[in-house]
Symmetry: C2
Subunit: 359 residues, 2 copies
């Protein structure tokens, strides 16, 4: 299945609807509507059919994924011969992100990317990138749909794209093994982790990771392909800027598998159905590695085998209305360093010895 979300008009205004996409036919099926008519054909009253369809196929993939039978529910509705008013043309469709993920964590799992991105800037590769699958917490509330214009942040002079995969979690669980975690994955989609490189490099010097350098907008979609349809290690990927090929890569060149990334995320923190996992940028998958950058008006397309094309137009820079004023060091340091506590060794003679740094 290829699951997307598009807007449909109704008496309460436009509403998001989850659809199964058939890209070759240029059509999509409104799944809750198909399910409703299926239930009516089986003898439900229209009101009951609507209530059951709403409960089993909510217009929010993350909510649906809270039930272990959701995939079955989707498949049953998609298998139905759809009634005419459940069939939609993709031409002119108003795409939404296929998902409103409750959380979004994004890795840096492609060695080729982090090696060449560091080389361009003359920085060494830190050891930890080989010992842990390092990630950052990304902007789950500022995702951009297919065909949506990205508003260019006022503080950015150096804009870049990043060619990534997005994995959608379909279950829950904590402290999983890689094998267990892989079973929790539901689908995969394209993810363009747009980056304001100037702000990113400025802020990461503070040690808290990227924030305003990344979170103004991340494109996701156009649809989620369920993992029974493809091998996540065999996805061919490409990025085009204004129709010109800039990047190409393959999903299997990551240091860590999707199952390993997901297992690491589940360590001490339960997975949440519908959360989004970014693979990190594929090798050569951004302008930073290529010595090039984006300008307002550019059209960036990501392409993936089985995943379609995710298109974003870059808008004009926003107006800067406010910016923080630089502070003078030493104004807020008053020599207080908390209360001197009794040393741990005195309080707790049985306490374990101080930890040894790993590297």
């Amino acid at each position: 299945m290829k699951l997307a979300r598009i807007l449909r008009d109704g008496p309460d205004g436009p509403r998001p609807r989850i659809v199964a996409v058939d890209p070759e036919a240029g059509r999509a099926t409104d799944l809750a509507r198909a399910e409703q008519l299926r239930l009516e054909r089986r003898g439900c009253t229209p009101a009951t059919a609507r209530r059951l369809a709403d409960a089993h196929l909510p217009q929010d993939l993350a909510a649906g994924l809270g039930s272990p039978s959701y995939r079955e529910d989707l498949e049953r509705a998609a298998a139905e011969d759809p009634p005419d008013d459940a069939v939609l043309e993709l031409d002119g469709a108003r795409w939404l992100t296929p998902l409103d993920p409750p959380r979004f964590r994004d890795f840096m799992a492609f060695e080729q990317h982090f090696v060449s991105a560091r080389a361009v800037r003359g920085n060494p590769v830190p050891d930890v990138l080989y010992t842990l699958p390092v990630y950052y917490k990304a902007g789950h509330l500022s995702l951009l749909a297919h065909e949506q214009t990205m508003e260019w942040p006022a503080y950015c002079e150096w804009m870049d794209y990043e060619l990534e995969l997005g994995f959608v979690v379909g279950g829950t669980g904590v402290d999983l093994t890689a094998e267990e975690a892989e079973q929790r994955l539901f689908g995969v989609t394209l993810l363009n982790d747009f980056s304001a490189r100037d702000r990113q490099f400025e802020e990461v010097a503070g040690g808290l990771g990227p924030a305003k350098g990344k979170d103004f907008g991340t494109a996701l979609g156009p649809w989620i392909t369920t993992l029974d349809e493809l091998d996540p290690l065999e996805i061919s990927l490409a990025a085009r800027v204004n129709g010109q090929l800039w990047s190409s890569g393959r999903s299997g060149s990551a240091l860590w598998s999707a199952g390993e990334l997901t297992a690491y995320l589940s360590t001490a923190e339960p997975l949440v159905p519908g959360e989004l996992i970014g693979s990190g940028t594929v090798g050569g998958g951004c302008g930073l590695e290529l010595g090039n950058r984006l300008v307002p008006g550019d059209v960036v397309e990501l392409e993936g085998s089985g995943l379609g094309t995710l298109r974003t137009r870059l808008g004009e820079p926003r107006q800067l209305r406010w910016a923080p004023q630089e502070r003078i060091p030493g104004q807020m340091v008053d020599g207080r360093r908390g209360i001197e506590p009794t040393p741990l060794a005195a309080l707790r003679p049985d306490a374990p010895p101080p930890p040894v740094p790993r590297r």
Copy 2:
């Protein structure tokens, strides 16, 4: 108002309920129940009163804050002489976090903290901490309620607390000035940003900020005090470990005001009602600065004037079921560096010159 959320039993099992807390009296009022009876007294049928109370006072503060009249709705219900079955004893209450925030971003706004924490480790203070209010995206899905036991992550040998304030956003808006942003703040609470220092220092070397070093659990509460009740620059703060005072500080010693922090967050990213903003650790407000650390079984209490006491007991270490295996450098670097794109200058002679690094 002091707003909390506690569990109450019902025919569908225990349910979260939003209450107004009166700490001196040791009691709380169930606000939706009070509102329901208020509406009945004014002539609504019981079913209509319940429907209206549910709509105006949902059991989710973030949902309620989506309406600009929510504060008024809360105050009207809290002002009502509460019926007996809406009054709850705090003694033995099952506390939840006062909020399920849709997002949580945590700053490093106290100079005393970042100067002394860096000094302890022999690291210089980066310039950016004086030019931008740097923050990280924190664990909004792993918050711990007052009195909840923190499960100790298996990978941690060096546990620490962090004494912080949490600000709750009560409105929306994008690209706000500090004055405008301050008007969007709804309330303030205590926040204990527990930190697995060993994992934190290991992972931040990767440049993506803290992740597993922080997100296993952050305590929040016990209640949210609305900002009409106190001056956020005049809050006295303290941290006690097993009853012993370890840290004390004051909210006004931050480099940036809550309005400035919020304005920065709103830049190019709309605020979301109910999102949580961490102030960062107050000077001297963690064991790292004091040369001490926590062990399993410790009880950590944060205290704030007007904010009550937030208590957390540290549990025993979890079992490690899976860990990533170290990778050998160079295995996934194959020399591909994307497709060589036409340089920007050739494609776009009118493009602006390459950006100048700010520092």
